[in-house]
């Protein structure tokens, strides 16, 4: 078997396609690295500036009073740019990079503009500022996901289309099978040979890419990032072996290598280019998106009955304990409802995306895209994770405010109202800070399904290739 593998690799190493592949992959990977080095520091700087600003807001408010902290909350939250952005862009421009903390609403003012009734902060999920500034031609990003998903798969077909049909044409298949080697050994030998010959230029290009990226002092890769890169490389090999298996299958079934390549090309075009977008368009037309006006209309009924509920308590003219409590409850519930309404929309939209993703999962190219996104820490799942992080932090901060208030015996413990809250100074260092973290095991969990599906595809195709080759007549 090793003999066959070795023979295949040597055969390929000397061929024109090997040289072309190496040059092509190197060019793409170098471009990818250069682009990343050019853009990533800017991205990180933008993030840092934004975070510093929002931290300043938090400290200012904490310094002012516990009440200000409870009313205005923290500053906006920003999504930490992934150091592995070069692996998968993940449609970053379509996703907002922030979760905003809305200013407290003002319900009522007197003639002088003094706020009589104002609420407390709540989270909102803004839309990304869609790329309507970009009027350039429409092209995809040169990230690893593209290089592996489109280019490497094409190369895999390029290396395997004549694996059996070519040998049959030359007559060498007969010679090989005349030896006392079982057919499955031949098949595995061919498979490994092709996979290895593709891996060599790919690994070379990846190494050059990572060398460029890691030696630059503007970008820093952590140990975890290297681990993730290892996973992505393994994914690339798995995905490539899928197309190698497909190439072997078709090559074994078809007599002429030219016909085999043509069939493979048409299959590739369908699987990689058309299926993802066409299926997604079909999927998204199942459930129409909610328009912005509809979204706003949903808000009104939520607000109206809230007002009725607390009208009585808020109406009393004296500033007594009961009114303060009514105010506090009103503010809290208003913020809660506001948040729920915002979340509802996010959930509606993400369920739409999940549905579209599930359907496009038939295409291995989309599976790979999602997997790389998951492990590179970009894309949609990552966005949801970021949103969850902010929600968790919001709860944490609210608890902190409540706990600090509870610790003060002089306070009335009525949150959200100046008169009802502790007046002690808050130590800004004690206020919890937001940290946007990524969890590798969670990423594995979200990716597990897709990973299994991709493996299944590979196994099915490999056994298909085996069956086809066993039955082949020379």
């Amino acid at each position: 078997m090793w003999h066959i593998t070795k023979r295949e690799v040597y055969d390929n190493l000397n061929s024109l396609r090997f040289a072309l592949t190496t040059v092509l992959l190197l060019a793409l990977m170098v471009t990818n690295a250069v682009k990343h080095l050019r853009e990533h520091p800017e991205r990180v700087q933008r993030y840092r500036d934004a975070v510093t600003e929002s931290l300043n807001h938090l400290t200012d408010r904490a310094n002012d009073s516990l009440y200000t902290l409870a009313q205005y909350g923290p500053g906006n939250f920003y999504k930490k740019p992934s150091p592995l952005h070069f692996c998968a862009n993940g449609g970053e421009s379509l996703l907002s990079d922030a979760v905003e903390v809305d200013e407290p609403p003002v319900f009522m003012t007197d003639a002088e503009g003094n706020r009589l009734l104002e609420g407390i902060w709540s989270l909102s999920y803004p839309d990304a500022n869609l790329h309507n500034k970009d009027v350039g031609p429409n092209v995809s990003q040169v990230d690893w996901a593209f290089i592996i998903g489109s280019i490497l798969s094409l190369i895999a077909l390029w290396f395997t289309f004549d694996a059996f049909s070519g040998e049959r044409e030359q007559g060498t298949l007969r010679l090989m099978l005349a030896n006392s080697i079982p057919r499955h050994t031949v098949l595995i030998g061919k498979f490994l040979g092709a996979l290895l010959s593709i891996s060599i230029p790919f690994a070379l290009a990846v190494l050059v890419n990572l060398l460029l990226i890691s030696t630059a002092d503007t970008v820093h890769l952590t140990t975890e990032a290297w681990g993730r890169l290892g996973i992505i490389f393994a994914l690339a090999l798995l995905y490539t072996s899928l197309f190698v298996a497909l190439g072997l299958l078709v090559s074994a079934r078809v007599q002429q290598s030219a016909v085999s390549l043509m069939i493979l090309l048409l299959m590739w075009v369908t699987l990689v280019v058309f299926m993802p977008s066409t299926l997604a368009s079909i999927a998204s037309s199942f459930s129409p998106a909610m328009s912005f006006d509809e979204f706003w209309k949903q808000r009104n009924p939520i607000k109206e009955d809230l007002w009725d509920k607390y009208k009585e308590g808020l109406g009393s003219s004296e500033l007594d304990d009961r009114k303060l409590r009514a105010k506090s409850e009103f503010y809290t519930e208003n913020a809660e409802r506001e948040e729920r309404w915002q979340e509802e929309r996010l959930r509606y939209r993400s369920s739409q995306v999940h549905r579209a993703r599930a359907i496009t999962g038939i295409s291995p190219a989309t599976l790979l895209q999602h997997l790389i996104e998951a492990f590179a820490g970009t894309g949609f799942e990552r966005h949801l994770q970021f949103v969850e992080n902010t929600q968790r932090y919001a709860r944490q901060l609210r608890e902190f405010v409540a706990d600090t208030d509870r610790a003060d015996p002089e306070s009335l413990h009525i949150l959200g109202v100046r008169e009802g809250m502790s007046r002690k100074l808050v130590n800004p260092a004690a206020v919890p800070r937001f940290e946007d973290t990524l969890n590798l095991s969670r990423d594995f969990n979200t990716a597990a399904m897709e990973l299994l599906l991709l493996t299944l595809f590979v196994l099915v195709l490999l056994s298909g290739a085996y069956l086809a080759f066993v039955r082949v007549e020379v």
Partner: protein, 497 residues
């Protein structure tokens, strides 16, 4: 003799597996995508109609001139089914008032789309053709000469008293005739589906004809590339492999690579900063002059009381990224306290002064902004497009976009119309003397009658304009065809059998 050759080649091509496969796959892809695209278009049209209706009612709600909520909406282009271009990407909703000059960078979306869904790149018919037609051309061409050479039939053909050029011509004509079948058939299906649900005008059909002709030139170009490879190589295996590499490079790699490598000029940030400062300065001067007017006309102590009674509100805005700048003087008072009734003439004078000044100011900022936007956004995009034209895909895309009217200049017409409309509104205000009227800021003595307000109308330009923009690219494709053909003939004549 030529006829015999063509007949033979035609039969050879038609009876092959590849012809059936290509036909099937083209039909399948075009029809499936057309159905989806039509659905998408109808959805966009519906949301456009909703938006127009909503904006109309919104406008009628406004009681004073300064509260005017006037929006114009951009209808989706039915030909975006063929090449979507920028039609879906750019905003389709634009506020119109005198203190703001609208550009395509300020446009908003109706917001019907789930932006997350846009992860999955949308495709159009031209994209299907871009990928499939080029592949078809190469698949039909790679063995045209190399195959005959391998089988030894080239000897036989050349032994006949026919010129080599004629052989090539016969091959070209017959292959193109075959390749036209899937192209035309799939387009007919698409048109059948299209005309059932979307009414198309004669001009649209002419534009579609332009797209079809361009597709034809594109297809032929790729066939010739394949033929060139076939003539230049000895073996079909090598020819096929080379053809595939060229295809992958031209279709997949080059367009994406070029956009990633081209670096926008370094001093853009600086230029943007200066433009921003200049605009900010103009806006500041505007505020000062408004202040000065108040100081000159009223006793300083009374200024705050006056502005509260008349709800004076002056907001200037400048966006650092798109340089969007506007001045808003909306007025939220419902009645004027009787104590201040005597000051109404003064308020009228104030608004008359300020609003005219606003128009002048914002037009001054527009002159700076126009230049800056051109430098920042348009120049880069234009450069990308020029470099993209080194690949036939780029030329084909540009030409079909121009035909469909979904390219940058096609869409800019709409935004120009929006700017025109703003002028019309301003003229209407002048004619009604609206700035100096009581209805400008308060509706206690009768609300504004909006029924005479001029309506916004927008017509796409005629086919001639489309043709004028598409023809250079079309010629480029045709020239490419010609050069390639001549090159092939030369190589073939000089080559040994």
């Amino acid at each position: 003799m030529l006829k015999t050759l063509i007949g033979r080649e035609l039969l050879d091509n038609l009876m092959t597996f590849r012809f059936a496969a290509v036909l099937l796959i083209t039909l399948l892809l075009v029809v499936a995508n057309t159905v989806v695209l039509i659905q998408d278009y109808e959805q966009r049209l519906e949301s456009y109609n909703d938006a127009v209706k909503m904006h109309d009612t919104q406008l009628r709600k406004a009681k004073t001139y300064s509260m005017m909520y006037l929006f114009v909406d951009r209808a989706p282009n039915p030909l975006s089914i063929f090449n979507v271009g920028l039609d879906k990407r750019l905003g389709n909703l634009m506020g119109i008032w005198h203190g703001f000059v609208p550009t395509l960078w300020d446009a908003q979306m109706h917001g019907t789309d789930n932006p997350f869904i846009a992860f999955f790149s949308s495709i159009d018919i031209v994209f299907v053709f871009e990928v499939i037609l080029s592949l078809m051309g190469l698949i039909f061409a790679y063995d045209a000469i190399a195959g005959e050479r391998e089988r030894g039939t080239l000897h036989l053909v050349l032994a006949q008293p026919i010129g080599r050029g004629q052989i090539l011509l016969a091959k070209y004509i017959s292959a193109m005739a075959c390749l036209l079948v899937p192209l035309v058939l799939s387009l007919l299906f698409a048109l059948l589906l299209l005309t059932r649900s979307i009414p198309l005008s004669t001009a649209d059909f002419l534009r579609i004809a332009g797209i079809v002709f361009t597709s034809f030139a594109y297809l032929s170009l790729f066939y010739l590339i394949g033929l060139l490879i076939s003539v230049a190589t000895r073996r079909t295996g090598t020819a096929l492999m080379l053809a595939m590499f060229v295809w992958g490079f031209l279709i997949l790699v080059y367009p994406n690579l070029i956009r990633a490598t081209v670096n926008p000029g370094g001093n853009i940030q600086a230029g943007m900063k200066t433009a921003q400062n200049q605009i900010q300065q103009i806006l500041n001067e505007h505020e000062q002059e408004c202040q000065k007017f108040l100081e000159n006309e009223i006793i300083a102590a009374e200024t705050s009381e006056f502005s509260k009674a008349f709800g004076l509100y002056n907001d200037t805005y400048l966006d650092p990224v798109t340089l969007t700048s506007y001045i808003e003087n909306v007025n939220f008072i419902s009645a004027i306290p009787s104590k201040f009734e005597k000051d109404v003439p003064l308020a009228k004078r104030y608004y008359d002064f300020v609003e005219r000044l606003t128009i002048r100011t914002i037009e001054k900022t527009w002159r700076i902004r126009k230049q800056a936007l051109e430098n920042i956004f348009v120049r880069q995009a234009t450069m990308d497009r020029i470099l993209l034209r080194l690949s036939p895909v780029g030329i084909y895309d540009a030409a079909t976009q121009a035909w469909a009217g979904t390219d940058l200049s096609g869409l800019r017409i709409f935004f120009e119309a929006a700017r025109q409309y703003r002028r019309v509104i301003i003229d209407y205000f002048y004619a009604k003397d609206a700035f100096a009227s009581r209805e400008w800021f308060v509706a206690d003595k009768g609300a504004v009658d909006w029924s005479t307000l001029p309506q916004f109308t927008f017509e796409r330009r005629d086919v001639g304009t489309n043709a004028k923009r598409a023809l250079p690219d079309l010629f480029l494709l045709l020239i490419g065809n010609l050069v390639l053909f001549m090159g092939i003939v030369l190589i073939f004549i000089k080559s040994e059998v």
